[in-house]
């Protein structure tokens, strides 16, 4: 059964005015998100992944301007709004917090140090009229803290953020985000500031919550290693463009874009020891004067002559898998992914076979 789209981003193009010139941060990206689905957006700092989510919530700074595109958000079965067209008041009242909620990287900066945890969770419930009385809000808050795996919720409700550990704080932030039962949860690097053990707890929690509440999730991260467990689909961003998009299994087992190859082979593998990690040489390009052709060509060992002259279109690999690289053109030479990566993926596949 085909689920319907909750969010559709079409041809979004966005730039910032800086003293040094116009920075073309997002260059014509399109994607969609179905109800109850998790999309991971992966990319380096400066690839435009965070700005994309900020555009969805209308949180772009004053020097930024949307040049083109639309962000359609389904309100109910028949109605949808273009989040780029509505005014800030409407967003604040009807969208932010209530329909789309966001979790940021550092829980300490998103929590108010002078307010108890309970009050911060209840605030948005009362504001958006999701609870009719304080007593009801209190009861809901207790259930929420329980849902996000905080023990002794009655005691925690009265505590301040500084009395909680890092993992605990991030759980509170998630509880705040879930307070109004949003349709879409944006998680912007929610585990980057946390320890491995806490990270894996939080990832499990996010998955668990999705199962229970059916919320759709956009998961922003720079580490492909982290999201294998949570993502249904993955979009890889580079220099303001989506360069590859597909189901998690397609991105991890059959990556097609040289940048995705680079990202995957720079993660050390625990399974085959002694294997090399390959680094991607150089740094992302300056987007004040974006390169003419494929922005990744300058860092790629697989660049063709045409990569420096013309931007590759999205080539279709399967119904769900697309990649923007000239290597997929029928006239391009046959190129394989790096051997290190191929060997590693084979190890994964063999392991699966032996488990069956």
């Amino acid at each position: 059964m085909e689920k319907e789209n909750l969010l559709e981003v079409k041809n979004l193009t966005l730039s910032f005015n800086l003293s040094s010139g116009v920075n073309h941060v997002i260059r014509d990206i399109s994607f969609n998100l179905k109800k109850g689905e998790t999309l991971a957006i992966v990319g380096e700092s400066g690839s435009g992944k965070s700005v994309t989510t900020k555009a969805i919530l209308g949180l772009i700074d004053d020097n930024g301007s949307v040049e083109e595109g639309s962000i359609l958000f389904k309100l109910n079965a028949t109605e949808e709004v273009d989040l780029l067209k509505v005014d800030k008041n409407y967003l604040q009242r009807n969208i932010r917090g209530s329909r789309i909620a966001i979790i940021f990287q550092d829980p300490m900066t998103s929590l108010d140090p002078t307010m108890t945890v309970g009050k911060q969770i209840m605030e948005s419930m009362l504001e958006h009229k999701k609870a009719s009385s304080k007593a009801e809000a209190f009861a809901k808050t207790r259930d929420l803290l329980d849902l996000v795996g905080i023990d002794q919720p009655e005691k925690r409700i009265k505590q301040y953020p500084h009395q909680l550990s890092g993992g605990m704080r991030q759980r509170v932030v998630i509880a705040i985000a879930l307070a109004c039962e949003p349709d879409l949860l944006i998680a912007d690097e929610p585990t980057t500031a946390l320890d491995v053990t806490i990270q894996s707890q939080i990832l499990e929690l996010i998955k668990d919550i999705q199962k229970k509440t059916g919320v759709a999730i956009i998961f922003i991260t720079h580490d492909l290693g982290v999201v294998a467990n949570v993502a249904d689909r993955v979009a890889v961003m580079y220099a303001g463009k989506i360069v590859e998009e597909g189901l998690a299994s397609e991105i991890y087992y059959e990556p097609a874009h040289p940048y995705t190859w680079g990202l995957l082979s720079s993660i050390p593998s625990l399974n085959d020891k002694g294997s090399e990690i390959l680094s991607i040489p150089g740094t992302p390009p300056n987007l004040i004067n974006p390169p003419k052709g494929d922005a990744f060509a300058y860092r790629s060992n697989y660049a063709l002559k045409i990569d420096f002259e013309e931007q590759p279109p999205m080539f279709k690999i399967t119904d769900t898998h697309y990649a923007a690289t000239w290597l997929l053109h029928p006239m391009a030479p046959k190129v394989e992914m790096p051997l290190v990566l191929k060997k590693r993926i084979d190890v994964f596949k063999n392991k699966r076979r032996s488990e069956q």
Partner: protein
């Protein structure tokens, strides 16, 4: 194995911080270990495990409360005379997590890197000074043009390269690298790690690598020590720790590592570790093999060895 030369030996190192009359934090609590010349020794653990404190105590940013540290045959604990201090500063260097915080934003790269030369009066002329800076700068993959720039003109990975150059300028033997890649993007992490590996090969350096990213630690290390609340709970070669972990805390850490493999990720079970019933202070370090040791009391040791739980992540 036993003939390898020891570069650093730590015996009974304690580093406590007194908070008030009632509370003292025992950040590093009676550590014993050796680091051999030319190897990469990694210390892993969660935040609050004392791994960074350990590095800082060794290089004498903190004064340890107790313990004996021998570095290249010389004692570097207690009060140091001028000569030993100079010896320590020259041969042991540290690289920090956030390169922006450890570089002076108003100093040009050349001056930041040459600082060690300047305070120690090691160069005779500006020409020689520039030559030496240029040599390390090139060895970390930066260019001559970069000499007269300021830190804000660099990307994160390049800044960390400057941090590395700064540590290398005095030609030390031993480098403590404290979470040097955690602030970097994944693709840049690989660049910095491969650079560190190359430098080690070319210059014969010994590293103590402090990190919480266990997959990177496996890639770079020869031996690993797992720390938890001030104690080394398990120590051994990479194979010992990653393929035959015995301590439940090590197992729990390993089980939390995410893999870039969606199918096996769906099946991954996290091992939960609870410290209740485990008394680190009563435990003694016991050898499982020549290279592999674990902190445990008799009962703990017996119960862990009897436990048939297989290593979690393979």
């Amino acid at each position: 194995m036993s003939e390898r030369k020891v570069i650093l030996e730590v015996k009974g190192l304690d580093q406590f911080f007194r908070i008030d009359r009632k509370t003292t934090i025992r950040a590093v609590d009676g550590l014993n270990f050796k680091i051999y010349e030319g190897e990469t020794f990694s210390v892993v653990g969660e935040s609050g495990s004392g791994k960074s404190t350990l590095g800082r105590s060794l290089i004498r940013i903190y004064d340890a409360n107790a313990g004996e540290v021998t570095f290249m045959g010389k004692s570097i604990s207690g009060k140091l005379d001028t000569e030993t201090k100079a010896f320590l500063r020259k041969n042991m260097q540290m690289i920090f997590q956030d390169p922006m915080a450890s570089l002076n934003p108003r100093k040009k790269v050349i001056d930041s890197i040459a600082f060690g030369l300047d305070v120690n009066h090691l160069t005779k002329s500006p020409v020689e000074r520039k030559e030496r800076v240029l040599k390390v700068l090139k060895s970390v993959g930066l260019l001559e043009d970069h000499l007269n720039r300021f830190p804000h003109q660099f990307s994160g990975g390049q800044r960390q390269r400057i941090g590395i150059a700064r540590a290398l300028i005095l030609e030390p033997k031993f480098i403590i690298a404290d979470e040097i890649i955690s602030a970097l993007d994944v693709s840049i992490q690989a660049q910095v790690i491969n650079l560190m590996k190359n430098l080690q090969k070319n210059l014969g350096l010994t590293y103590m690598f402090i990190a919480h990213d266990l997959s990177m630690v496996r890639y770079i290390s020869d031996r690993v020590a797992v720390m938890h609340v001030g104690h080394i709970v398990e120590m051994g070669t990479v194979e010992d720790i990653y393929e035959n972990p015995l301590h439940p805390y090590t197992k729990s850490l390993l089980s939390a590592i995410p893999h870039p493999d969606p199918d096996s990720e769906r099946l991954r079970k996290r091992v939960v570790y609870s410290k209740t019933g485990v008394n680190y202070n009563a435990g003694t370090l016991r050898q499982l093999s020549e290279t592999h040791s674990i902190l445990a009391t008799d009962e703990e040791f017996a119960s862990w060895q009897a436990g048939t739980t297989p290593p979690p992540c393979f």
